[in-house]
């Protein structure tokens, strides 16, 4: 079972057991992790699930799609090189555990 560590903007970490096939956004929302809104449910429509992915995990992720790339340009907290929309990161056993930091604001 992959684990996701969510680190808040203030530096508080919370570890959540994820389900294979769920996204990092779904895992956060379903478990009430603050800092991720995910209002559109994961269809690249709201850009409220922005996260900064731990550098050590970044290369293991699927690349950013064109639509995600455009959405990242419009996030409330400006994007960084390690920015992703967490609805586009699907948990799998191959990917394993992940660590992400949530921005100060989403909307």
């Amino acid at each position: 079972m992959p684990k996701v560590t969510y680190v808040s903007d203030a530096g508080e970490a919370r570890v959540v057991d994820g389900l294979v096939g769920d996204s990092v956004m779904q895992t956060a929302v379903r478990n009430g992790v603050p800092g991720i809104t995910g209002e559109c449910g994961g269809v690249l429509s709201c850009a409220t699930c922005h996260v900064f992915v731990d550098e050590a995990d970044l290369d293991r992720l699927e690349p950013v799609s064109g639509l995600e790339d455009e959405m990242l340009d419009g996030t409330v907290v400006d994007r960084c090189p390690n920015s992703r929309l967490s609805c586009q990161i699907k948990l799998s056993d191959e990917l394993g555990d992940l660590r992400v930091t949530t921005p100060e604001a989403q909307e």
């Binding site: 379903r30 478990n31 009430g32 449910g41 455009e70 959405m71 419009g74």
Partner: protein, 430 residues
């Protein structure tokens, strides 16, 4: 405003309706520090789920209602939110001060100090002969979606009645599943209540390009029986017949107001609430598709109250109502936004284009990547976006901040809209 919150007693808040608004209301109550019991009662058997995927991903075979659950079971337990499923509240008795008891169809009762109604809406029924034939589907809840998915797997000719989001999303999905698809509607343009004319025209062309037949201004006068109680098509006002082995009706929704009426609350195309989500009795709150509220944005000459059906509105109204119950009222004033996915077309809409007097088109609609920005009296008021998510986010944030984007500059697609957001000179004097 006068505070209407009461000191929480042992029975707490009862939320009627385990939907997007109901669950948000319960979650926000906890977030705002409400510590008394919270019970959410829902009529459906499924754990609370997201509704938008019902007309899209859930119609493809790979998704189950569990996959679109709003929160985990553990979350409700952790938060002390008691979730009761499969119970429809049919009557509420109340004493003074808002407290009372709600009764379910089964006879179970639920006591409360404060009541929240998030009861949603039901599909508007097609008012013509033959509408009750087998093979005629509506789409509102997860069970409807599962039934429609099974029917689509067998269908050859699909007739969609209605040209709103539900109708067009189902049409797109049915086409992707390989069905022959016809859409017929009473209105003279698609998505009439949701988007402006250029966007309507684009979606008409886009569906036709993908092989969908569309009949505008053609509400069926009756549905036809195949002789065995099953639908075989529809007759249009001009006498022509459209054949179909599956009919999907998506002609809007009617707010569920029975409980509000039984409680004597003011109802006018929805349960009437003020900007704090408070109903006319001064103690009950309401949120979501069942609610008629003051417009959250300035609408000169517009309606006094409007009823929105969108995830964003359900969420924001629920937060507003929760804030009131937690005795920290904040008026509802979020810029509305919504989206629709059809084929590879992502439509996003920000703001309300109602009453606009000017629009500019950014990009070429024929490329299936463009935006329409709407202005009223020189103010940016709304935008429709097709496959232009960055532009959508720029306009949504400009509207939220009361800023504008100069219309002349907006048509230059080489400049990101985000860079054009400017103070609205007219805003200061308005």
């Amino acid at each position: 405003m006068n505070s209407t919150a009461v000191a929480p007693r042992d029975t707490g808040v009862l939320v009627v309706g385990a939907c997007q608004a109901g669950i948000q209301l319960a979650c926000s109550l906890r977030e705002y520090g409400y510590s008394a019991p919270i019970t959410v009662v829902g009529a459906e058997r499924h754990a609370p789920y997201q509704r938008p995927p019902l007309s899209k991903t859930l119609l493809h075979a790979e998704t189950s209602p569990d996959a679109i659950a709003l929160r985990s079971e553990a979350f409700y337990a952790d938060q002390g939110i008691r979730l009761v499923l499969g119970e429809r509240i049919i009557r509420v008795d109340r004493g003074d001060g808002g407290a009372g008891v709600a009764y379910a169809h089964s006879g179970r009762s639920f006591a409360f100090d404060r009541l929240a109604l998030t009861v949603g809406a039901r599909p508007r029924r097609l008012p013509v002969p033959g509408a009750d034939l087998a093979g005629v589907h509506y789409l509102r809840d997860a069970d409807d979606a599962l039934a429609l998915r099974a029917a689509l797997a067998e269908a050859v000719d699909v007739l969609v009645i209605g040209g709103g989001f539900i109708g067009l999303e189902v049409a797109a999905t049915a086409r992707e599943l390989g069905c022959e698809v016809t859409v017929t509607l009473a209105d003279n343009r698609l998505l009439e209540r949701a988007v402006g004319v250029p966007t309507s025209e684009f979606f008409l062309d886009a569906h036709i390009r993908r092989g969908v037949r569309v009949h505008l201004g053609a509400p069926p006068v009756r549905l036809l029986d195949d002789g065995h109680g099953r639908v075989r098509g529809a007759e249009l006002p001009d006498g022509s017949v459209l054949t179909a082995d599956l009919v999907v009706v998506g002609i809007g929704a009617v707010p569920r107001t029975e409980l509000a009426e039984q409680l004597g609350l003011t109802v006018d195309n929805g349960i009437v609430v003020n900007e704090y989500g408070l109903t006319s009795d001064g103690t009950t709150v309401a949120a979501g598709d069942c609610v008629a509220c003051p417009p959250p944005v300035d609408l000169p000459d517009g309606p006094v109250r409007i009823r929105f059906e969108s995830v964003n509105t359900a969420v924001e109204q629920a937060k507003t109502a929760a804030a009131l119950l937690a005795d920290r009222p904040v008026p509802y004033g979020a810029v509305p936004w919504f989206w629709s996915d059809q084929y590879d077309l992502k439509l996003q809409v920000a703001g309300l284009s109602t009453g606009h007097d000017r629009y500019v088109v950014r990009g070429e609609p024929d490329t299936e990547k463009f935006a329409v920005l709407y202005y009223r009296g020189g103010h940016l008021v709304a935008g429709d976006f097709v496959n232009r998510p960055a532009d959508f986010l720029a306009v949504r944030s400009a509207l939220a901040a009361g800023r504008t984007i100069p219309p002349e500059a907006a048509t230059d697609t080489t400049v990101p809209l985000k860079k054009l957001i400017a103070d609205d000179p007219r805003q200061a004097v308005a």
